[in-house]
C-alpha cells in the first residue's frame, strides 16, 4: 500500500516536470527559433502520463485525489484537441495556453497532495511502538 502511494506521488511529480519541459519547448518554438514540431511531438508523450497517474491513484486508494487525477486526464486530453480547432473555432483553440495553466496547476496540486498522502502513511508505519508497562 505504501509503495503504491510513493509511486503515485512520483508519477504526479514526473508529470509536473514534463509539463514544465513541454512549456519550455513551446518557448523554444515561439522565441528560440526551433519550430513547434518538438512541442507537438512531446505533447503526445506528456498526455499519456495522466493515465499512469490515474492508475497509480486507484492502486493507492487515493480517494478524492483519484477524482482529481481523472480530471487531470480529461483536461490533458482536451489540451491535445484544442490546437486542431484552430481553423474552425479559433477562439476555442486560443484556450490552449489557458488550459496549459490549468494542467500545470492541477498537476502541482495533485503532486503536493500525493506527497503528503505518502508521507502520512510513512509516518504511520514508522511510528515507534510504545513499550508495554511491565509489572515488577
Amino acid at each position: 500500500m505504501h509503495i503504491s502511494r510513493v509511486v503515485f506521488a512520483a508519477l504526479a511529480w514526473l508529470f509536473v516536470g514534463l509539463v514544465v519541459l513541454q512549456v519550455f519547448y513551446a518557448g523554444m518554438g515561439l522565441l528560440g527559433g526551433a519550430g513547434m514540431r518538438q512541442h507537438v511531438e512531446f505533447g503526445y508523450v506528456v498526455s499519456g502520463v495522466p493515465i499512469l497517474v490515474l492508475i497509480a491513484a486507484g492502486a493507492a486508494r487515493a480517494g478524492q485525489l483519484a477524482v482529481y487525477s481523472a480530471g487531470l486526464l480529461l483536461i490533458t486530453f482536451v489540451q491535445t484537441v484544442l490546437p486542431l480547432l484552430r481553423d474552425d473555432l479559433p477562439f476555442v483553440a486560443a484556450l490552449h495556453p489557458v488550459n496549459a495553466l490549468a494542467i500545470f496547476w492541477l498537476g502541482l496540486f495533485i503532486a503536493r497532495r500525493a506527497t503528503a498522502f505518502a508521507r502520512q502513511r510513512a509516518e504511520e508505519t514508522t511510528e515507534p511502538v510504545q513499550a508495554q508497562p511491565t509489572a515488577t
Binding site: V20, V23, F24, A26, G27, M28, L30, L31, G32, G33, A34, P83, R86, P90, F91, A93, A94, L95, H96, P97, V98, A100, L101, F104, W105, L108
Partner: protein, 145 residues
C-alpha cells in the same frame, strides 16, 4: 527567566492605513492573477491568429505590469510579514525579467525561450502571494495569520 518571543511585524504606517493597504493588496493581487489568466488567453489568440496578426499579448502586458510595483508598495504600507514582502519583490523581479526575455530572442534564443516557463512561475507566485494575505487584518492592523 524571560523568553524572547518573536514580535509580530510592525506596520510601517499608522493603524488606520495598514488595514486599508492590506485590503488593497488582496484586491490588486487577485486582479493581477486575473490579468495573467487573460494574458495566457491572449497568447492563444495571437498564436492561433484568431483575430488576425496582432500584438495584443505584448500590449496587454504593459497595461497591467504596473500592478507589481503597486503590490510592493501596498505590502510595505500594510506592514505585511517579511516573507510576503520578499515574495512580492520576487514577483516584481520575475515580471521585469518576463518583459525583458522576448527582447533578446535574436541574440540569445535559448534564454529568450524561458519566457514561457517564467510565465508559469509568475502565475504561480502571483497566486501564492494573493493567497498568503487574508482579507481581514489582525486586531493590531497586522495580517490575521
Amino acid at each position: 527567566m524571560p523568553v524572547d518571543r518573536p514580535h509580530p511585524p510592525e506596520p510601517m504606517a499608522g493603524n488606520d492605513v495598514a488595514p486599508i493597504a492590506q485590503r488593497g493588496f488582496v484586491i490588486v493581487a487577485w486582479i493581477l492573477v486575473g490579468c495573467l489568466v487573460v494574458q495566457f488567453f491572449l497568447v492563444g489568440l495571437d498564436l492561433f491568429e484568431a483575430i488576425g496578426e496582432s500584438e495584443l499579448h505584448r500590449d496587454f502586458a504593459y497595461l497591467y505590469g504596473w500592478l507589481t510595483p503597486i503590490l510592493v508598495l501596498l505590502a510595505m504600507l500594510a506592514g505585511l510579514p517579511r516573507r510576503v514582502l520578499l515574495l512580492t519583490v520576487a514577483l516584481l523581479a520575475l515580471y521585469a525579467i518576463q518583459t525583458y526575455l522576448p527582447t533578446i530572442a535574436d541574440i540569445l534564443p535559448r534564454i529568450a525561450a524561458l519566457h514561457a516557463i517564467n510565465a508559469l512561475l509568475v502565475f504561480w507566485l502571483a497566486v501564492e502571494v494573493a493567497r498568503s494575505v487574508p482579507w481581514i487584518p489582525g486586531p493590531t492592523g497586522t495580517p490575521g495569520r
